[in-house]
Symmetry: C2
Subunit: 209 residues, 2 copies
C-alpha cells in the first residue's frame, strides 16, 4: 500500500461494505455510485474518491457489480478470510459483545473469552467459552490471533496490552476511557461512549444555535 | 458558532477534556500544550489548532490553567450543566451502558431506561429505573431531554427515532449496525463495533506490510 489512507476513508469503507451486504441480501446485483450515495446519504463523488485509493474497481456512471465491490473492500480491510479474535473481561459489556452476532456475520470469529473471576470461568456465552486469564499463554500458542477486544477496567488495560503484545497480539479494540502512549507497532482503536455522547452534544448545540 | 468545526477536532476536544480531568485529579494545575501533547501522544501544534477554533484561551509556550481549559471545552461541547439523557432497550448492551459510571462522571445523567419486556419493566439498574416504553410520552413531557441512547435491534431504530423526534428529542447515540438517511434536523452518532474492528484490521494489515 503506497498512499496513506485517511482514517475516515477506512471508516466509510466499512459503512460501504455493510450497505453492499444489505443490498445483496435484498437481491440487488449492481449499483452505481450515485444510486449508492443516495441510498446511504454520502456524496457519490466522495464514494468514488474513497474507492479510488484502491485502484480502478469503480466506474463513474455505470453500475458496478456489488459482489466485486464487496470483495475489493474486504481484501483491502483484510477480511477475505475469517479473523480469529479473543475478548478479555467478561463483565456486562463483555457479555453484550459476546452476544452481538453482527461481529460474526462480518467475518470475525471470537474464539475465546478470558476472565479472572472463578464464577465466570467455564461458562459458555453464545457459543464462546470463558477461560482463566492465567492460562492465556497456552491458549494462544499456535493460533493465528491478531487482535483482542478489551472490556476491562481502565487500570488493567496497559498491563494486559503489554502481556498480549508479548504473545504476538498487536491489535486492540479498547472500551476503557483511557489514553495510552504505546509503541508504534501496536494498533489500538478506542471506543469511548462518553466521548461519542460529547460529540453528539456538540452537534446538537451547534445545530440549534 | 461561525466556523465549521471538523468532526475529528470535536473528538479530540473530548479526549483533551478527559485527560485534563485526569491531570487535575493528580493535583496538577497548569499545563503547556507541549507537555500536554507529550502526555497524550498528540502533536502540540494540533492541540493549539484545535483549541484556536474557540477563541484565545490557549497560549503557546506558557502553561495554561487546567480549570480554565476544562471550562472552555465544556462550554463548547455543551457540558457546563448536567445533560439528562434516556436509554431505550435494556438488553445486554443497554445494561452494560447503565452500569458504565464514566458517563455520569462526564456530565451526563441517564434519568430513565425504557423497554417493552414485562420482565425488565420496574427493575432498577445502577440507580436507573426501567419503564414501559408505551408510557414514554408521559415520562418525557416537561423534562429537558435532548438525547437518547438507542440499544435496540436494527429493525426498531427508525420508528423509535421518529417517535422520539415527535417528542422533541433530536440527538441519538445509536449502536445498531444500520445506515439511515434522516432529516438534517436530527443528529445521530453511530457506534458500530464491527466497523471499529474493521478499521483495526485495516491498520494491522497495513502496518505489517
Amino acid at each position: 500500500m503506497e498512499k496513506k489512507i485517511p482514517k475516515n476513508t477506512v471508516k466509510r469503507l466499512s459503512v460501504y461494505l455493510r450497505c453492499l451486504n444489505k443490498l445483496q441480501e435484498d437481491g440487488i446485483e449492481n449499483v452505481s455510485s450515485s444510486e449508492f450515495g443516495e441510498l446511504i446519504g454520502i456524496n457519490p463523488a466522495q464514494i468514488r474518491k474513497d474507492l479510488s485509493y484502491f485502484g480502478e474497481f469503480v466506474r463513474q456512471g455505470l453500475g458496478d457489480n456489488i459482489e466485486k465491490l464487496k470483495n475489493g473492500i474486504k481484501k483491502i480491510i483484510g477480511l477475505n478470510e475469517t479473523q480469529n479474535i479473543i475478548l478479555i473481561g467478561v463483565g456486562n459489556l463483555g457479555k453484550a459483545i459476546l452476544n452481538y452476532n453482527v461481529i460474526t456475520k462480518r467475518g470475525f470469529s471470537i474464539i475465546a473469552a478470558f476472565d479472572k473471576d472463578p464464577e465466570m470461568i467455564g461458562k459458555i456465552i453464545n457459543n464462546v467459552g470463558v477461560f482463566d486469564i492465567k492460562k492465556i499463554d497456552q491458549f494462544i500458542a499456535g493460533k493465528n490471533i491478531k487482535c483482542a477486544i478489551l472490556t476491562l477496567p481502565p487500570d488493567q488495560i496497559r498491563k494486559t496490552i503489554e502481556k498480549l503484545y508479548q504473545l504476538g497480539i498487536k491489535g486492540f479494540l479498547n472500551f476503557a476511557p483511557i489514553s495510552l502512549n504505546l509503541s508504534k507497532d501496536i494498533q489500538i482503536v478506542n471506543v469511548d461512549l462518553s466521548s461519542s455522547l460529547e460529540v453528539l452534544m456538540f452537534y446538537l448545540r451547534n445545530n440549534s444555535e
